[in-house]
């Protein structure tokens, strides 16, 4: 493991976001010009976080997100979360294919954590005593220390608390990053999630007008590489140690056997479809830890899309499909204008249909003939 090198790379990448004047001088903000043109952030006077209000948040499993204010109430706070790493078998499709999963709080992806810019996050990471492996967490929303990975390595039965300041606004992924080939394996086994750092005054469109959402859903895309028996059926292993060599070999082939939303084929379809009502604004956060993806809402659009997931940039308007780079999370806001069933897919439809990357929104309301109507129903060609 080379945390120093990792750290340097991440710092270089983060420099454009103006996290510090010194680093900001190294590389300019993309598209803005020379480094000198990048605004130097005010040096924030150090505060003792112990003097700030402390808020303990109970996390909920995706696709749901814990209750939160869209516009911050009061000044910065210390927001406390707890993530417990659980190694456990996870069923990943309707045929009962089972992997040896590694999870944050038992879900794939791990829970969404929401704070506001300037808040301090106190994250307690616990490694369940029943686990067999070392784990840690690298949060892309943080600055330094390999995203926290260098400071949070814990053995089974241990816990540690990391405090970091939320200085970058947007949706960011987090994942386990214990090093070497363990890292992609842990991530592909489920150890990834997302954090949402909202501007203190909420979301805005490109002209600075406020944007609000009535519902928020977190969709985490996940690729699996399940080894097969000679007859093509999927292998099942008794433990992480048993699967290790085979799964790594499958991973290195780069061809996933499953690409799913929220841990399993069908996790967000049918009975698990995401409900919404006509006219509601729905915020969809879509994370993908490794592979690039391209969500598309069939029959709808992205009214406002931060395709890079970062609120320092103005949202794109009226997108049909948006790109989410592997290792990031996109944010899309859409107001449903027609009732019905909307499939929300990775628009590589081979992956959506064969590998599982499909969710469904179920929207109640009354049909609008002005937007769509059959003029000539199907009939023999004249």
């Amino acid at each position: 493991m080379n945390f120093a090198a990792l750290n340097l790379n991440r710092r270089a990448l983060l420099a454009g976001l103006g996290t510090s004047a010194a680093v900001g001088a190294v590389i300019g903000q993309a598209g803005v010009g020379p480094a000198e043109a990048a605004p130097a952030p005010e040096a924030t006077p150090a505060v003792d976080p112990a003097t700030l209000p402390h808020v303990k948040v109970d996390l909920v499993a995706p696709p749901f997100v814990h209750p939160h204010d869209q516009i911050a109430v009061g000044g910065p706070k210390v927001v406390q979360f707890r993530l417990t790493v659980k190694e456990k078998p996870v069923v990943v499709d309707e045929d009962g294919t089972t992997i040896q999963g590694m999870t944050f709080n038992g879900s794939i992806p791990g829970p969404m954590m929401v704070v506001h810019e300037g808040d301090y996050v106190e994250l307690t990471l616990a490694n369940d005593a029943s686990n067999t492996m070392q784990h840690n967490i690298d949060l892309h929303a943080t600055t330094g220390g390999a995203g926290g990975g260098a400071l949070t390595m814990i053995n089974p039965g241990e816990e540690t608390t990391l405090r970091f300041k939320a200085t970058c606004v947007g949706a960011f992924i987090y994942h386990c990053a214990v090093g070497g080939e363990m890292t992609p394996w842990h991530i592909n086994s489920g150890m990834n999630g997302a954090m949402l750092v909202l501007p203190r005054d909420g979301l805005k469109d490109g002209a600075g007008r406020p944007l609000k959402y009535d519902r928020i859903y977190y969709i985490g895309e996940q690729d699996y590489y399940v080894p097969r028996n000679p007859d093509g059926s999927y292998k099942k292993y008794d433990s992480l140690g048993d699967e290790f060599a085979d799964v790594l070999a499958a991973m290195k082939g780069m061809i996933p056997t499953h690409v799913v939303f929220n841990g399993a084929v069908g996790a967000l379809t049918g009975k698990n479809a995401l409900p919404a009502k006509l006219g509601e604004n729905v915020l969809i956060i879509h994370s993908t830890p490794m592979r690039d993806t391209r969500p598309h809402l069939i029959g709808g659009h992205g009214d406002y899309v931060w395709t890079d997931g970062k609120f320092g940039n103005p949202p794109s308007l009226g997108l049909e499909t948006w790109h989410v780079a592997g290792g990031s999370a996109a944010v899309a806001l859409y107001r449903f204008r027609q009732p019905g069933i909307y499939a929300y897919v990775n628009h590589n439809l081979i992956e959506a249909v064969y590998l599982g990357a499909t969710a469904e929104f179920k929207v109640e309301g009354t049909w609008n003939n002005d937007l769509m109507q059959v003029v000539t129903p199907p009939r023999p060609i004249a």
């Binding site: 069923v91 309707e94 045929d95 009962g96 007859d231 093509g232 059926s233 084929v265 069908g266 379809t269 049918g270 009975k271 479809a273 069939i298 029959g299 027609q338 009732p339 019905g340 069933i341 909307y342 499939a343 897919v345 439809l349 959506a352 249909v353 064969y354 599982g356 990357a357 499909t358 469904e360 179920k362 929207v363 109640e364 309301g365 009354t366 049909w367 003939n369 059959v374 000539t376 129903p377 199907p378 009939r379 023999p380």
Partner: protein, 297 residues
């Protein structure tokens, strides 16, 4: 596997006239392989069947119905079954299908499905099912074929739902039907239930037909069709589309004849079958049809 069969109807009573009996014995000799076809092939036991006496039953035909430019329910009719229905108690098993494959009369089922054993064959297309029926007919000397939708629904008894009541609440608001159909389909879906179960897992229904309504949908011979009704509800035009045939199970659906696995997931609307398999019906031979017509049953 333990199946309790419904009492079979004896098509040939002991009171058959001697003349008919003479003709019959000759025909039976052909059917049992004593003479004629495939004398060299190993003996093949015909599949277990039940025979159901024809009776009128309320039925909505398959197909997409339009009236006044709107999607409507198919009219409720009385299905015209006129001859006894002889239908397999179980779906065709993987082992039986494998025999047809071994004799190169059938294409292999799609990999990843049960290749052999006492489970229903799945991963088979309409074309595969038809090839199997032709092979079984040749090997047994009887006329085996896929059932029609009417025949399948008749055998399915109480399981055959009224396909008209699928939430068609307001034809001018298509979304309401989509939402209702979606809820129905979602309620049917059993997590982890897509692996075909051994034959007999679902016991025989009131007609003695087993394994109906599980996670294997069954091919029928019925073509998909677009039916336009006139102002009085009578059929004005029917446009059959036989590249798609109706599969039956917990719900009906048209599927392309060459498809072996109606893949789950990724559909913007609809709820594809978990698995595609089939069972066959046997047409009564000519002498039994004659006997039925002249009143001997």
């Amino acid at each position: 596997m333990s199946i309790t069969l419904a009492p079979r109807e004896n098509v040939f009573g002991l009171a058959l006239p001697v003349l008919l009996l003479v003709g019959l014995s000759g025909a039976l000799a052909v059917e049992t392989g004593m003479v004629g076809r495939n004398a060299s092939a190993a003996a093949l036991l015909p599949p277990e069947t039940v025979t159901l006496a024809p009776a009128p039953f309320p039925h909505r035909p398959a197909g997409d119905y339009l009236a006044g430019g709107l999607s409507v329910n198919a009219p409720l009719t009385t299905a015209p079954l006129e001859t006894p229905l002889i239908i397999m108690v179980h779906e065709v098993s993987a082992a039986d299908y494998a025999r047809c494959v071994a004799e190169t009369a059938c294409a292999p089922a799609q990999p990843g499905h049960h290749a052999t054993g006492d489970a229903p064959v799945t991963g088979v297309s309409y074309d595969d099912a038809k090839a199997y029926a032709d092979w079984l007919s040749t090997r047994t000397g009887a006329n085996w074929r896929l059932p029609t939708v009417e025949e399948w629904d008749f055998a399915a008894g109480a399981l055959a739902r009224d396909h008209g009541l699928e939430g068609l609440t307001d034809p001018a608001d298509p979304a309401q039907k989509w939402l209702a159909d979606f809820d129905r389909a979602a309620a049917q879906r059993v997590p982890g239930g897509a692996v075909p179960q051994p034959l007999g897992t679902i016991g025989p229904n009131e007609n003695g037909v087993a394994d109906l309504g599980g996670n294997v949908w069954e091919w029928t011979a019925t073509c998909n069709s677009r039916v336009t009704l006139d102002g009085t509800g009578q059929v004005a035009n029917t446009l059959p589309s036989c590249g798609l045939r109706i599969v039956e199970g917990k719900h009906r659906m048209p599927v392309n004849v060459f498809v072996r696995d109606a893949i789950r997931g990724g559909c913007s609307v609809g709820n594809p079958p978990d698995n595609l398999g089939f069972r066959l019906v046997r047409d009564p031979p000519w002498y039994a049809r004659l006997a039925a017509i002249v009143g001997f049953r």
